[in-house]
Symmetry: C2
Subunit: 351 residues, 2 copies
DNA sequence: ATAAGTAACGAAAACGTTTGCGTGTTGACA
DNA sequence: TGTCAACACGCAAACGTTTTCGTTACTTAT
């Protein structure tokens, strides 16, 4: 095959040289400035079209001191919820002329910091992020504070922390889980267990609280043995067997469990599996509700009743918030927190 | 709350002014040039550290004419396979000092073109992409050709097209599906059906061919009625009921089906559900294998035997290929195609 | 003492834009 | 013919770097 002729990207300077005019004339001609005669304007535009001229983004970014790019840092991308959020972010970002650059913290504090530093040096105009578990555990938020201090706006979603002053998009974890548990209780469940995470994950804590609140509403007192706090480290990759054993233990110790609320989809699915193996019928003998609506819930058998977080909507709202902030003229800083309503999606794991 | 004092990002110029030296001196001092005296070097570096100086990425990009950023265009991000690929890309990109900027084509030709144009104007050094269905259908690849012609390298993965000359990372769809179907046949299946897509999706076509090859190997002749070509449009969002009905029809017309190979995970899961509703036992009466290993396969009941595509590995290889290309000195263009081996992950839907 | 060499720094160009302002040419009008 | 607009264009600065090439001032050797 013959070496193909490359039509490298053309610049204003090259157009100027070809047409024997100055760079500024070319620039103005392309932007339809009235300073330029009809004649040369047409000439320049024709030439530019012919060579498919497009202004260099980097040069524009440098000149305008804004990149029209937003940085997104999330703990994991192979995760239904987070990818839905990204889809939402990308949707409105694109609509408003922005690009999206993603960094994965992989739930690690160091990677989160590195990633933010890598992007904060002019590559982006602002951040949208969800805090990694390790960061939440260590409670070290200096990188967020510094970033904000340098004048770079941040929007946090889902996994947030009150200590940081910035825009936030969250769901009402407490209300969502309270509703879910209430649903189980009104459906006749008398011994509802909860499968949750250790408390340092803020959402886990809130969802546990919602469980307790629901019990209280129904004048029932919580039993410690019905609260299973799973160590997330164990579940991280493929140590699901230990989780299964823990849940099995829960069921065997409490034969009367007739309802389970799990703080995420996977826990619920696994719990259903264990229950079925123990001979319980769903939803006749025992009912299940999970938090975080994903593919598993929809396609499991029986399909799982879940609390939907509306991930895509969260992403959209976060992007709106950030871009509004970026394009706002007045420098008055006022931070808003958007609360997305959760929704109970009823399927076949409940009566 | 008092207005916080902002420590805006500091530049070389500001350091120079503060320390009463020239910009070049500051730059050299920070890069440990021997031209600079020990004295001023220390002074500059101390000042820089104090004010947390970091070189502006955009300025560097402009000067070096490379952004250290790679653009990724995929059809959908809420998809286990694609998110795994992104994870792989991000992993090696990060390791090699690159950022990743993602664009979603949403399976649309126009959005694919727009997205590429948006990024090709200097924002990135090269593309990694998987072609949208609409583009494959229309067979209009001019945007790829133009991009490559402008000297911007492209690496395609999974959904590729031979017509374009560039690096590629694919799996051996034919071999993978042939292996899967052979597995069913050696397990004793005598009437294996395939649930596949319309032919314009290249991978669907290849996987169908693998199915036929396997039959041939076992001296069996294909029956047209055992080949179900699903119209993808119908399945796109939530029109799964029609898919269920189609599959139900397949089973009812061919009572003797004892094995099913589906070209993706979802089809297999739904087929299993339909089969179970029809009273068939899995894997005793009928066995299932799906392509594309995802969360559904692992957590379904029974868990689904699948052909794993090793999405993360694909992403890693694609990124290696692209970055190697970007950092190669010699301009000799030679395109390589990496074929990732598929792996049959046996679970409980087969004997 | 003078030539040569060296150490330490600054000026300027370059990357590709946009834009305020200066400047030359034309034409009209007094 | 001289003055003044209007028109059409170019210059140069700016965004923040890096790097080449001077340019000093001082030291060393002859």
């Amino acid at each position: 095959m013959p070496a193909t002729i490359m039509k490298k990207k053309i610049t204003l300077k090259q157009i100027a040289r070809e047409l024997d005019v100055s760079i500024s004339t070319v620039s103005k001609a392309l932007r339809n400035s009235i300073e330029i005669s009809e004649d040369t304007r047409q000439k320049v535009q024709a030439f530019a079209k012919l060579y498919n001229y497009r202004p260099n983004n980097i040069a524009l970014s440098l000149k305008n001191r804004k990149t029209k790019t937003i940085g997104v840092i999330i703990p994991d991308i192979v995760h239904h919820f987070f990818s839905k959020v990204i889809r939402g972010i990308e949707l409105v970002a694109n609509k408003r002329g922005y690009n999206v650059i993603v960094g994965l913290s992989n739930e690690s504090f160091d990677k989160e910091v590195i990633n933010m530093q890598m992007l904060a040096n002019g590559s982006i105009d602002g951040f949208i992020l969800s805090i990694s578990k390790e960061t939440l555990q260590q409670q070290d938020y200096h990188h967020f504070k510094e970033t904000i201090n340098q004048g770079m706006p941040i929007v946090m979603f889902d996994r947030i922390v009150n200590e940081i002053n910035c825009d936030k998009v969250i769901i009402d974890d407490l209300k969502g889980s309270k509703n879910a548990v209430s649903k189980l209780l009104s459906n006749g469940c008398e011994n509802v267990a909860i499968i949750t995470t250790k408390d340092y994950v803020s959402v886990g804590k809130l969802r546990t609280q919602g469980y307790l609140n629901a019990l209280e509403d129904f004048k029932m007192s919580p039993e410690t043995d019905l609260i299973l706090k799973v160590d997330d480290e164990l579940v991280s990759e493929d140590h699901l067997e230990s989780l299964e054993r823990e849940i099995e233990g829960l069921f065997k110790r409490n034969k009367n469990i007739d309802g389970v609320f799990a703080v995420n989809e996977l826990y619920a699915i696994i719990a259903m599996k264990v229950a079925r193996n123990l001979g319980m019928r769903i939803p006749e003998d025992i009912q299940f509700i999970g938090f975080t609506d994903g593919v598993l819930s929809k396609h499991a058998t029986p399909s799982l009743t879940t609390v939907s977080q509306h991930g895509q909507l969260m992403g959209e709202k976060a992007a709106e918030l950030l871009i509004d902030n970026l394009e706002r003229e007045d420098e008055m800083e006022h931070y808003t927190t958007i609360v997305i309503e959760t929704e109970l999606i009823e399927r076949n794991s409940t009566k």
